[in-house]
């Protein structure tokens, strides 16, 4: 494991040029998640119904892993059904819990597989999951899953 394989270009690209990082107004729900061990923060706005996540926008401060992962997540689940979003989320979590054993499901996770290396660093898994946990919380609160 070296820095290059942990911080793939794709992660650093998303960190520098994040997608959907502008909170939409009047969302269906707004959630704020913090990683209490490091202080990283993500606010997520979600609008959607049982058929479609219509708008997933966010804002946040934190390390490249937490911010890039949230960017990738917002892009992946935008326009998907809550059920599809949940299976993407579960697939991402499974990869994160694999301790480096899983390369990730490219079809489901797309750019998300770039985070497979993070699963070898226990201290960083929470970073990668910050935005995803916010999404899950938002979907639960909107009673979508």
């Amino acid at each position: 494991m070296n820095l290059e394989s942990l911080y793939q270009d794709l992660i650093l690209d998303h960190y520098k040029n994040p997608l959907n990082k502008k909170l939409a107004e009047n969302p269906g729900i707004s959630v704020h998640h913090v990683n209490p061990s490091c202080g990283d923060e993500v606010t997520l706005h979600l609008t959607g119904d049982r058929s479609e996540l219509k708008s997933v926008t966010w804002d946040g401060v934190g390390c490249s892993i937490s911010q890039a992962s949230t960017s990738v997540m917002s892009d992946l689940v935008q326009g998907k059904s809550p059920a599809q979003a949940e299976s993407i989320l579960n697939s991402f979590m499974e990869m994160m819990q694999s301790k480096g054993g899983s390369q990730g499901d490219l079809e489901l996770l797309g750019d998300g597989v770039a985070f497979s290396g993070v699963s070898k660093f226990p201290a960083r898994i929470k970073c990668a999951l910050l935005g995803w946990m916010a999404l899950k919380d938002a979907m639960v609160q909107l009673d979508l899953i």
Binding site: L3, D13, G39, C63, S64, R124
Partner: protein, 418 residues
């Protein structure tokens, strides 16, 4: 006398090990916990191998030996801080010391010098670690007292400009850090203690970041209570110290009740022993105390003044080197006046957690995050910093490694196109 760092390093087995990519460990995280010399590791092991028995009980030889070792450790702590052995209370951590004190104060009845109500004020500061903030927040809530605090100045030192307003007739308790675990700023205690005495406030010192690093006399400081943890002073984990002045400990109600802290017990009540027994209910962490005693001997043999001077030289060198790194900002005093060897900084364009990860790839262990001082970070409008904290086993080469590591992280994260 300059420290012989290579000899000191050789006493610490963990500093001999290799970490990622077979790099030697460059340990710059002593502010979180210090490493342990073989003398301490052996002392803990020896206690369990040869003397383990419940102290202050038991009609047998090893119980006597355990009691002697435990009480001997108390004497060593007392000598280290220039207090009396009966004023030294063993706890599990500085966090427990401060919480126990806050609870004991909260148990005080009306008429006690510790009694607080809505006319009282508890003074803390924005520099506090959560462990010396939240116990007082909660005590204020329980008693109706008002929590007040010192703010910080641009050097991340305490701002003393309104000290006469902050320490007023209502101020009953001043709980303050001796040295910030974020900025390294050392508190101007004489100013605070002098003013506290004028209004009759109690002074409680969180010495976690100072006790392991400088020669301290609680008597000369003129404070009332003093807390520090063993594990930051090359001692074992799970052992902390609460020191208090005898006349105050005599009047302070206990917090934990149980075995060994009583003089007599009936079915309806109990009377309590004097300090330190009054505050040490249950079978204590004997091996931890013994290990701490040996740890403090280890530091004293080298000399606290020598250790402090070594750290000042290292800090001076670090500040000079860090100032030369483009885009790097030191969070805290930029000189070694009233400052310890805790160096927090940010680097433009690199989040501290990412920087910490990159340093770790080179075997350099630092702390990143809010350092359990969240209100301070918010005040400084920062999410996190990277912190290098130095100790007696660090040398100038370790600092050079840190600087090289930061430069190589900059190359990686800030290279063009990224």
């Amino acid at each position: 006398m300059p420290l012989d760092v290579s000899t000191i390093k050789a006493d610490f087995p963990i500093l001999q090990r290799k970490v990622r990519h077979d790099n030697p460990l460059i340990y710059l995280d002593s502010g979180a916990t210090s490493q342990k010399p073989i003398q301490v590791i052996d002392a803990v092991s020896n206690f369990y191998k040869n003397h383990n028995s419940a102290v202050h009980r038991g009609a047998h030889l090893i119980a006597e030996e355990a009691t002697d070792a435990y009480e001997g450790a108390r004497e060593k702590v007392a000598k280290f801080i220039d207090g009396d052995p009966d004023e030294v209370i063993f706890t599990k951590s500085a966090t427990e010391s401060l919480n126990a004190l806050a609870y004991s104060i909260g148990n005080a009845a009306k008429g006690s010098p510790f009694y607080l109500d809505e006319n009282s004020e508890i003074l803390v500061s924005e520099l506090e670690h959560h462990a010396n903030l939240i116990p007082w927040q909660e005590l204020a809530k329980r008693t109706g007292a008002k929590l007040t605090w010192f703010e910080i100045d641009e050097d991340v030192r305490l701002d003393y400009s309104n000290i006469d307003q902050l320490i007023n007739k209502k101020t009953k308790i001043i709980a303050i850090t001796h040295q910030s675990n974020v900025s390294g700023a050392i508190t101007d205690l004489p100013a605070i203690v002098e003013r506290a005495k004028v209004v009759g406030a109690l002074t409680i010192l969180d010495a976690c970041q100072s006790a392991p690093h400088m020669d301290i006399s609680v008597k000369k400081l003129g404070i009332d209570f003093y807390a520090f943890s063993g594990h930051k002073a090359v001692g074992p984990t799970g052992i902390g110290i609460l020191w208090g002045r005898t006349e105050l400990l005599d009047q302070l109600p206990p917090f934990l009740y149980g075995g060994s802290m009583v003089t007599s017990v009936t079915m309806t009540g109990a009377t309590f022993a004097k300090s330190p027994r009054k505050f040490e209910a249950g079978v204590p962490n004997m091996a931890g105390a013994v290990g701490l005693g040996v740890a403090l001997d280890y530091l004293s043999d080298i000399g606290m003044e020598n250790i402090h001077n070594h750290e000042i030289a290292l800090t001076q060198y670090s500040l000079e080197k860090l100032a030369q790194v483009e885009g790097l900002t030191v969070i805290g005093p930029k000189n070694v006046e009233m400052r310890g060897a805790v160096l927090s900084f940010t680097v433009d364009g690199i989040h501290p957690h990412d920087l910490g990860q990159a340093l770790d790839e080179n075997g350099i262990a630092v702390r990143t995050g809010h350092h359990c001082a969240w209100p301070l970070m918010k005040k400084m409008k920062l999410v996190a910093t990277t912190r290098a904290s130095l100790y007696l086993y660090n040398d100038f080469t370790d600092v050079d490694h840190l600087i090289t590591g930061i430069e190589s992280a900059k190359k990686f994260f800030l290279k063009s196109g990224r």
